[in-house]
Amino acid sequence: MGIKRCRILFLSGMLWLVGCSDPSWQTKDISGLMPPLKFELTNEEAQPVSEADYAGDVTLLFFGFTHCPHICPTTLAKLATVLQALGEDASEDLRILFVSVDPARDDPATLREYTQAFGPEFIGLTGNEEALQALTRRYRVTYGYGEKDDKGQYDVSHSNAVFAFDRNGDAQLLIREEDAQEAIVADLARLLAN
């Protein structure tokens, strides 16, 4: 085998490793790293829902719990600001799915009350342990519960990132805590334009 062929093999191997990521996205590109959107959960009206109910929309997926002191309110508030910056058209085609991984405390009514504070595009979802595990495992995220205090309250560890799916339900972006608002707006505008 010639040196040139070796080099081509090596380079294509490296490309495969880095997953041919598109450098023009400003948040983390996860296309190819993660499977398309799929779930079976319960919505705020206690009705069963699946990814098919949001087909055709750009969907953002975020895991949390309503008693969350910092990460969840901050992230959801940030997304609400992003929505405003994106304009009115966006709110028709963009759905933000807030999946509670604390079903013991977050029933549909609690979730509705919580997401209403952020806007009509925010939809609270939850499910039993089996449904939550199937979804979190699919996106390689997890959650866990801390010790209960005297009042029966406890901390919940969960993913702090937002997964963004395009209109076909394919995983496209991972929005992290430190990502700038402008970067998120630019990337979501691009997703919505496709």
Binding site: G32, L33, V141, T142, G144, V156, S157, S159, A161, L174
Partner: protein, 279 residues
């Protein structure tokens, strides 16, 4: 959930992977066949060699195909523990047991006589020789630890199942190559490395691992945000997690080198004593 049911749950694979199960089952089966074959022909294998081999295989199975793998995906320090087993402990035990004669004796004759098997072995030989050059072996051993801990690489590896498997397999295979080079029972006249080179190699890989471990332990920044992104197995402060991971990368990993040096020195002294006695 009952205690039994819960413990059974912990024994089940988090992500069922036929490759790991096949690897563990096939090597165990070949080894047992080899043991039976040896016993029939009256050759002695002792207790410690098979024990060391089976312990190594069991360790690989435990960290990849039980609930341990779940924790390794969602806790940095458990992940470091997983790599300690895959890259250091298990290959160390397997190489120390010098399993090749038994594995070969245990391989069915049909497979050994399979046409083309010698061609495959011949074709792999130059690559194997290259990887087992002492300098390259040391570089690969340390380089792989550093490579998978580059924050950007680590992030993708933890997100993508494909890369995660590639990472763990690469650690195991490199571990087997390295520790086999160290514990190869052949003397330098018969193709093994000289004892001096082995000891140098073992000592050379210590400082880079200490440096990395100390860096992780004493860093004031969270270097791997993927565990925030994916969530932790239970709420543990990120820096505590990172420090524990740093300590595992630092202390037990380098202790393995020290232990191996002692074993090599023991062999060296044994050889000398043998010479004096008979020569």
């Amino acid at each position: 959930m009952g205690v039994i049911e819960q413990s059974l749950n912990y024994l089940q694979p988090w992500e069922f992977s036929p490759a790991w199960i096949l690897f563990c089952l096939a090597s165990t089966a070949l080894y047992i066949r080899g043991l039976v074959h040896f016993r029939r022909s009256g050759r002695c294998t002792g207790f410690w060699r098979p024990f060391s081999f089976f312990l190594g295989i069991a360790a690989i199975y435990t960290v990849t195909q039980t609930h341990f793998d779940y924790l390794a995906q969602y806790m940095f320090f458990v992940h470091r523990g997983q790599h300690l087993v895959l890259h250091h402990l298990a290959p160390f035990l397997i190489a120390l047991s010098a399993p090749f004669p038994l594995l070969i004796a245990g391989t069915p004759k049909r497979v050994r006589d399979f046409p083309g098997i010698t061609t495959v072995v011949q074709a792999l030989r130059p690559g194997y020789r290259l990887l087992q050059q002492p300098f390259i072996a040391a570089l690969l051993f340390v380089g792989l630890i550093y490579f998978w801990l580059l924050p950007a690489v680590h992030f993708d590896a933890m997100l993508s199942q494909r890369l995660y498997q590639l990472m763990n397999w690469s650690m195991l295979l490199d571990g087997l190559l390295f520790w086999w080079l160290i514990f190869d029972p052949r003397s330098s006249a018969k193709g093994g490395l000289g004892y001096g080179v082995r000891i140098t190699l073992l000592l050379a890989v210590v400082p880079p691992q200490m440096l990395l471990g100390a860096y992780l332990t004493f860093s004031h920044n969270v270097l791997f945000d993927v565990y925030e992104v994916c969530g932790r197995a239970w709420p543990l402060a990120p820096l505590t997690d990172q420090r524990l991971g740093g300590l595992i990368t630092w202390i037990p990993a380098t202790m393995m080198s020290v232990l191996a040096v002692l074993i090599i020195l023991g062999r060296l002294l044994g050889q000398r004593a043998g010479k004096y006695r008979y020569g």
